[in-house]
Symmetry: C2
Subunit: 142 residues, 2 copies
DNA sequence: TCTATATTGATAACCGTTATCAATTTAAAA
DNA sequence: TTTTAAATTGATAACGGTTATCAATATAGA
């Protein structure tokens, strides 16, 4: 069964790059998180085991993981990036109630299909998407 | 007919802030752009008329425009923010290149239709939505 | 084991954005 | 109109996340 470690190793071999203890540790710790992870969190957790890991190595490895498609980087207003696992996770969209904050996850295959259509039209290679529907849930309407 | 200038003026008055020539000029030039605008572009265009506008004033004014809802700020991988007009614009979704930050606006009526369908299914009253497709644009693939 | 080359950690540099501050402008009151 | 308290401005230093540099070290194939 294909897993992240094998994928990363293959990617490295393909590019004549090397499998190192640091890279292994970083991937391991990254996978122990869920959702969007900040460099800061990764650094702290990794340094429990490997106190002298350089911050540059961490950034470099996240870049590699992003390049090989296992991870996706996002940028936010605060200037920090977050990193999100992209393998072995199901994608879903969100319904968000702007009144109480309740969120519901859903999927719609036809919407996904039309998204691909649009990307083709503009020459985009679709990597990911985010759809959020904002509204009022039935409880808040009462 | 309500326009951006009046809205901004009202917002300023409400907060005991002042309507200044710089703020007027910045809003004016901002509205002359379409889509996602970078600080750099704004600065260059404004300085044609007002060569000594301070960069801090530009950032501060964009912050105010964002606070009052006329503008929305976005962050991209290259570390730069872009600013997008949020008033008197037809709703559209975004194709976003995670590599260079290029964005393309699009609409797809069928996607909108299925969004409504999903909302009905969950008893949601749809108010607004945000769909962002992240990918690599054709230039970055080269 | 040897050797070419990738990797690492430390740290300086980068760069977009923000904070600071003295001089100036605004707008409401006198 | 003049006065005045407070907001604003421009210049620039500071900030902070990320990247580049470089000498020392580790890796993996010969």
């Amino acid at each position: 069964m294909l897993n992240e470690f094998d994928l990363f190793k293959d990617f490295l071999r393909q590019q004549n790059l090397r499998w190192t203890p640091q890279r292994k540790m970083i991937l391991e710790v990254f996978l122990s998180f869920e959702g969007h992870v900040e460099i800061e969190s990764l650094k702290n957790k990794i340094r429990l085991h490997q106190p002298d890991l350089g911050i540059a190595t961490l950034y470099r490895t996240l870049k590699l993981l992003t390049d090989c498609g296992l991870v996706e980087a996002h940028s936010f207003q605060n200037g920090k990036k977050t990193y999100e696992r992209m393998f072995h996770v199901r994608h879903h969209d969100h319904l968000i109630c702007t009144c109480c904050g309740e969120t519901i996850e859903f999927e719609h295959p036809l919407i996904e299909k039309y998204q691909l259509q649009i990307c083709e039209q503009y020459g985009f290679t679709l990597k990911n998407h985010k759809m959020e529907l904002f509204g009022i849930c039935r409880n808040c309407l009462k």
